[in-house]
């Protein structure tokens, strides 16, 4: 039982993005950059000496030395996500994430598990709509091997039909686990499919089963050739390392891998939504669940900051407006939550609730609209804005407690903005949000014509629109 749920910033970051244009093959002298802007994190005494470097093949490298704990986080950020899949062949970016662990020329099958995990390293990966990340956390003695192995699979991955067949079965089980067996998973798929009709955000990252079955080895080889090359990759290294040593090892391991320009994304723009949309799903649940979703901003849009603050004011904690109204005063919901989720392209502002028996999604819809109308008409208090900013600040400090956490933050912000230290600016920008900003974004984005209602009601499965 938490007093409040996490605020929006991390959701905004976790959504993200493609590394913008690092196609020029230029060699830079490593530089240590420190931030000049004085802000809340500086006041708290946090400084990150970041080393940034590019190899001539386009590979970008970000290093933060942290000698305090004998642990290293090594992260490979590839500019490919489900947004790069195509209709009818969805799920390839994610399936590829799995295949990257199967076999490579020099180190052979299951090398990351045989050589690294077997020595205690934490080895894993994840795929988002906008990018794919491979990450290892380990004791420093393993660093040279990690660099060699990551370079090997980037240069020499091996895929064959048998590997594809077995791993596709595994992914289909993952899909059943996360989407088909889970009421919340089904609702999430429906949210994106309802909001987006043209944009590739409309399909799930994991893809559809029938699409997965269609994939062949040659499709995957083309995919690898296009996306898995140094010009489309950023390495993030955080922990007990010496930047100079790391750069020399990376140069040696990756320097000869041919790099090309970053693949150009041609993503169809989503038309403006002009009327509300509704979807009703059925499942064996004890009571109704509902999500209201509105098209939102992309991470780089300055309206994001006011929407994030509004999201915190509405949803973050037991003193938040939505919690008080629907859980405490109206006693209609067991739980309420929401987020302004802003990836590289325009995302979604969501409000969700699990209703008590006897209440319907429509009841929640009415109350949520009242809450929004109150903000649109009267705004919020300065105290509420201050609380939201404070929550976002604490959360940022929390997110960098570990080498992996700091690496994730740097990698994500770099992927969204091209500037790995941009998160410090974010806190300052949140601090500048005014009541007028909150009113303006509430009036602009949270309007009935842009509303999408996804309900999940008790009953046998199947959906009706």
């Amino acid at each position: 039982m938490k007093v409040f749920s996490y605020p929006a910033l991390i959701f905004a970051l976790a959504a993200s993005v493609l590394v913008p244009g690092c196609s020029s093959a230029k060699k830079e002298i490593p530089t240590k950059s420190t931030l000049k802007e004085s802000n809340e994190l500086d006041r708290l005494g946090l400084h990150f000496p970041l080393v940034t470097h590019h190899l001539s093949n386009g590979l970008k490298i970000l290093i933060v030395e942290d000698p305090m704990v004998p642990v290293v986080s090594y992260q490979t950020w590839v500019g490919v996500g489900s947004v790069d899949d195509t209709f009818g062949v969805t799920g390839m970016a994610h399936l590829f994430e799995h295949l990257m662990f199967k076999d490579s020329k020099k180190y052979g099958p299951r090398a990351f598990f045989n050589h690294l995990e077997a020595k205690g390293a934490n080895v894993n990966a994840f795929t988002t709509r906008d990018y794919t990340v491979f990450h290892e956390t380990f004791v420093p003695t393993l660093l040279p091997l990690v660099i060699e192995m990551e370079a090997d699979r980037l240069a020499n991955l091996k895929i064959d039909a048998d590997l594809l067949f077995t791993e596709r079965e595994v992914v289909m089980e993952e899909r059943r686990l996360r989407a088909e067996n889970s009421p919340e998973g089904r609702m999430q798929e429906s949210v994106w499919a309802t909001l987006f009709h043209a944009h590739p955000y409309r399909w799930p990252v994991i893809g559809y089963e029938e699409d997965l079955k269609r994939m062949e080895v040659r499709d995957l080889e083309e995919f690898f050739e296009k996306f898995y090359q140094p010009g489309n990759v950023t390495l993030v290294v955080v922990g007990a390392v010496k930047a100079g040593d790391v750069l020399a090892q990376i140069e040696k391991a990756y320097g000869s891998i041919p790099g090309r320009s970053r693949p150009t994304r041609r993503v169809p723009k989503e038309s403006e939504q002009v009327e509300p949309r509704r979807v009703v799903l059925k499942d064996q649940v004890a009571s109704e669940k509902v999500t209201l979703a509105f098209p939102s901003t992309q991470a780089s849009d300055d309206d994001t900051y006011a929407l994030d603050v509004l999201s915190n004011i509405l949803f973050s904690g037991n003193a938040s407006r939505a919690y008080r109204r629907v859980v405490e005063e109206k006693e209609m919901a067991l739980a309420v939550g929401g987020v302004n989720y802003t990836p590289f392209y325009p995302g979604v502002f969501m409000a969700s609730a699990t209703l008590k028996r006897g209440f319907t999604g429509r009841d929640f819809e009415v109350e949520f609209e009242r809450l929004v109308t109150e903000v649109q008409a009267h705004g919020v208090t300065q105290e509420e804005i201050n609380i939201a900013v404070r929550q976002l600040t604490v959360q940022t400090v929390d997110s960098i407690r570990t080498a992996q956490g700091l690496g994730n933050l740097i990698g994500t912000v770099n992927a969204i903005f091209g500037d790995p230290m941009r998160f410090k600016d974010d806190i300052a920008k949140y601090s500048r949000v005014t009541n007028a900003d909150v009113i303006r974004v509430a009036r602009k984005y949270l309007v009935p014509a842009r509303k999408n209602v996804i309900s999940l009601v008790p009953g046998s499965r199947g959906s009706a629109q």
């Binding site: 030395e65 004998p70 598990f113 995990e117 067949f165 009421p183 064996q284 004890a286």
Partner: protein, 464 residues
Amino acid sequence: MRFIIPVFLLFCVSSQASIDPAGLKLPLPEIEKLSNGLTIAWFLDDKLPVVDLALRVQSGTRSDPEGKSGAAEMTARMLERGANGMSAFEFARRVEALGASGYADADEESVSIGMHGLSQDASTLLGFVAGIARAPAFLPEEFRREKKILEESWRHLADSAQSVSGYVFGKTVLNGTPYGRGSLDRLSSLEKLKLNDIVSFHRSTFVPKNSILVVIGRVDRVSFRKKIQNLFGDWKGSLPKESKLLFRDERFAFRRGEILITDLPDLPQAQIRVGFPVPGIRSEKRHALAVANALLGEYFNSRLNLIVRDRLGLAYGIESSLTYFKDAAFFSIASATANPNVGKLLEETLHQLRLLKAADILAEEVEVSKDYLIGGFPLRVATLSSIANRWLSGYSFQLGPNFLNEFMPKISAVGREAVVQAIDEAFQLDRLVVVVAGDAKQIEKSLKEKGFKRFRRVPVKTLL
């Protein structure tokens, strides 16, 4: 990362490049007691400007009085509903105004309350902890509302195959032990629970001799110690009697060779749990069992994952684990597969368990599993909070003050013979509990095809 404020090394290592099992020394807390018996554990560290405060009261759901199942859970919930003369909203607003967060939780052994926020607010946060522990509001209106929320939440148990399978498995494997009732044994118990029961549970268990306050992060110890004395120094009460109640429930009675199935007919994938009781946390076999668990199913390179996921493509994941309480323990394997594949997955899983039991274990496998556990240990204790959490569990289990630093040397000392012996003793395959939740018709067909014959359906409605 480098910070302006000087920091001390979180770890002392003989060589930064080494993972010598004897070389890693984790910081132990400094322990002291107030005159009233309240234990304080200090995990101080200047690295980040944050602080965590946790007050753990060593009476949890196993201490629910007879006929009062739900008392610990409802107490924890009520602790979040106002304190120090403030309403729940006023209290939450005060906490959130600092950007801080708080919690109150009940588990089998304890009720814990805590605060997390910036170090500059540490004194205020301590005041909140003291207020929650010593002056909760316990208002009738809040009790009615929280009870309703718990009741409604309980009804959602069957929304997920994961919850159902875990619930049925836990109840069955822990039947006859002090555990297994969980937060609530059945819905009808909640109806009988009164606010007075909560007040009584709180009064008898929230006493200094039954509590430990853990301070983690950046604070000035001298001034903070004074603050603790001010807020907790006059806290009184005698140690509660330990509960002797055992959990017994015929709905979850163990019957040898029987597979328990809960029918969730719409779901395409079944959740599977397999396991049995094992010797407790203070057993000498604990470290050898940890190696056996790693070898069988703790990580990607374990046997089960290699076969079930990588070779057969039957599951996204299959994982084994050891779960310890103070006076009971069990081993379990968890996985999920399409309903028609349940028989195949279960057949392979049981085959692997029998191989281990028959000592079909290579010395090389043992060494690899040890390397995994030893190499991964520094990652699992990479933050002071993670060290403190682990230390607190060991403290509650009475494992001795230095047990964390003993982990790597003790794992290092485990050999193949010790693993074989530990498995021989601990793997009670005649006490095997098997639980499956999913589409029962497809599951039973799949099981019959693989020669499994004895099933018992556990209807969803009986779970509540």
